[in-house]
């Protein structure tokens, strides 16, 4: 089944985005992280942003979250310009961001409490998401008692609980071991199939990108520009065995070439100058 993305509504619009980090001293100079970045993310799809390290993937995600301000260009979510951070754009970070002083329940409740949701309703919502991520037995546990994968589940549930317009994920499974990582990817797909959300997912892992997303946006090395957008042709019901299929491996090779060749060309240019 092809993802009918053309008929879907655009959820995130990134337009002519420039991001330049000003040098701290005249000698160090400015660093252009992103240059004229344009792409769309459709409603309820998982779009991955992939690229070599240092291409500005995380910067791009932080810009969408509103944690950074672009040098030029704009980002629209639901047609509204992003200014500053908001609970409409929740983020699952690369590092462990679960609050260690709160229990699993307390962490998932955090955003709802800030919203002023009354306790009875809060309890219902929190229980629902604790169940959804499969942590019902750990409601009262502190993060120190959980494994890395479980903490990521808490983080995802915490974001889902506040019902944001979009969910941003910055290499969320990067620090996990391979098996936990694969399990978490499957889990994320399951959660997403149960409750659709627009997810923008940053990774440098080609297989991860192909496995979880409907579209892959390839960024080139610094300064990051959108090199290509690839439609992933697999059905939504994906299993880990998908990775061994020919089609998957073919796409993997294609993506790898796109990214690696880009890297090469970039290095040649750098060496020449």
């Amino acid at each position: 089944m092809q993802a009918p993305s053309l008929r879907r509504e655009v959820k995130i619009k990134v337009r002519n985005l420039d991001m330049v980090y000003r040098g701290r001293s005249p000698q160090r100079g400015d660093v252009a992280a992103l240059q004229q970045v344009n792409f769309d993310v459709y409603e309820n799809e998982i779009a991955t942003i992939i690229g070599p390290s240092g291409c500005g993937k995380t910067t791009l995600l932080f810009l969408i979250a509103g944690l950074l301000e672009p040098t030029d260009g704009e980002i629209l979510v639901d047609g509204e310009r992003v200014v500053g951070s908001s609970s409409q754009r929740a983020v699952v970070f690369q590092q462990d961001a679960v609050f260690p002083w709160l229990t699993v329940f307390g962490n998932i409740e955090y955003g709802l409490k800030l919203k002023g949701t009354p306790f009875s309703e809060r309890k219902k919502i929190v229980s629902h998401y604790i169940d959804l991520v499969g942590l019902s037995e750990f409601e009262d546990a502190y993060p120190k008692e959980l494994s890395g994968g479980m903490r990521k589940r808490v983080d995802i549930a915490r974001c889902y609980a506040i019902n944001p317009a979009i969910l941003l994920m910055d290499e969320p499974f990067g620090s996990l071991d391979v098996f936990t990582k694969e399990r978490m990817q499957k889990e994320l797909l399951r959660i997403w199939r149960t409750e659709r959300k627009t997810i923008c997912f940053v990774t440098h892992d080609i297989e991860e990108a192909l496995f979880i997303s409907q579209r892959v946006i390839i960024l080139s090395a610094r300064p990051g520009i959108v090199r290509r957008v690839i439609q992933v042709p697999f059905s939504e019901n994906r299993d880990l065995s998908l990775r061994t299929t020919n089609k998957f491996q073919e796409l993997r090779r294609e993506l790898w070439q796109e990214i690696a060749v880009g890297e090469d060309a970039h290095e040649r240019v750098e060496n020449a100058t």
Binding site: L67, S85, S86, V91, G111, K144, R158
Partner: protein, 260 residues
């Protein structure tokens, strides 16, 4: 059988060794006191029984006045230190103004301030308490400030994207709970320092307090009283640290420390 098992659980090797070392220490003291003249090392019995009988009339008042100095000075200094550190984290102009001052007063050996405070204010309760206020303030302002600086950026960012839209909310829901372990660690250090300084301050012209007992006994070459005073001081400091540890355990259940 059950009683035997309970006894085994209670008498772990760790406890046996701990008890053994305490008993040995008292025994060594006892033996030394029989060899060395009592003016240097009086025996345990004379120290506790003799001094207790001698100081009984003023004992309660001495303990109360020392404790009052410690508690009042420690509370004022600690609260002030925490508040100032928060104010500095809240506003960068306050931070830029106060940072150099704190760096300046941080290395001062507090005991060296006693004569200056007496010179300014005269003998009396105020300079004694002020010394303790000063020491507690420095400890807590520095540790709280460091702790706030060390709150992981990722926690702050996460809070912002989860709806902590104002500085007040970030402080209340993230910074405050994140730094309680460090604040309590600072409180432990400040409490211990407060007893140190109470002793030093009471040596100078105090008419009441455990420090007064020590310095008075010394003048009469009454070693029993000196050791008795030291014992009471450490007893109070130990009880204070137990109290703090009790609260620490209750508040900071989430920290990743090993069970001691």
């Amino acid at each position: 059988m059950k009683g035997w098992k309970m006894l085994r659980n209670f008498l772990t090797l760790r406890k046996i060794l701990g008890l053994f070392s305490v008993v040995t220490a008292v025994l060594v003291w006892y033996i030394l006191s029989m060899v060395v003249p009592p003016i240097f090392i009086p025996g345990p019995e004379e120290v506790f029984k003799g001094s207790y009988n001698l100081y009984k009339p003023i004992l309660a008042a001495s303990i109360v006045s020392t404790l009052l100095r410690v508690i009042v000075g420690f509370l004022i200094g600690s609260i002030l230190g925490i508040l100032v550190a928060f104010a500095m984290a809240w506003n960068k102009f306050i931070q830029w103004t106060l940072d150099p001052i704190i760096e300046l007063i941080r290395p001062i050996p507090v005991i060296a301030l006693i004569p200056l405070f007496i010179l300014w204010i005269g003998l009396g309760e105020t300079p004694r308490i002020l010394i303790i206020v000063f020491a507690s303030f420095v400890v807590l302002v520095v540790s709280t400030r460091e702790a706030i600086k060390n709150v992981p950026t990722v926690c702050l960012n996460a809070a912002r994207t989860l709806g902590a839209s104002t500085k007040g909310r970030v402080f209340r829901t993230i910074i405050l709970p994140a730094i309680t372990p460090e604040i309590i660690a600072g409180i432990k250090i400040a409490a211990a320092a407060s007893f140190d300084l109470a002793a030093a301050a009471e040596f100078i012209g105090a008419q009441r307090g455990l420090g007064y007992i020590i310095i008075n006994a010394k003048q009469f070459l009454y070693t029993n009283g000196v050791i008795f005073g030291i014992f009471l001081f450490s007893l109070l400091a130990w009880l204070a640290s137990l109290l703090i540890r009790y609260f620490d355990r209750r508040i900071n259940v989430w920290t990743e420390r090993e069970a001691a």
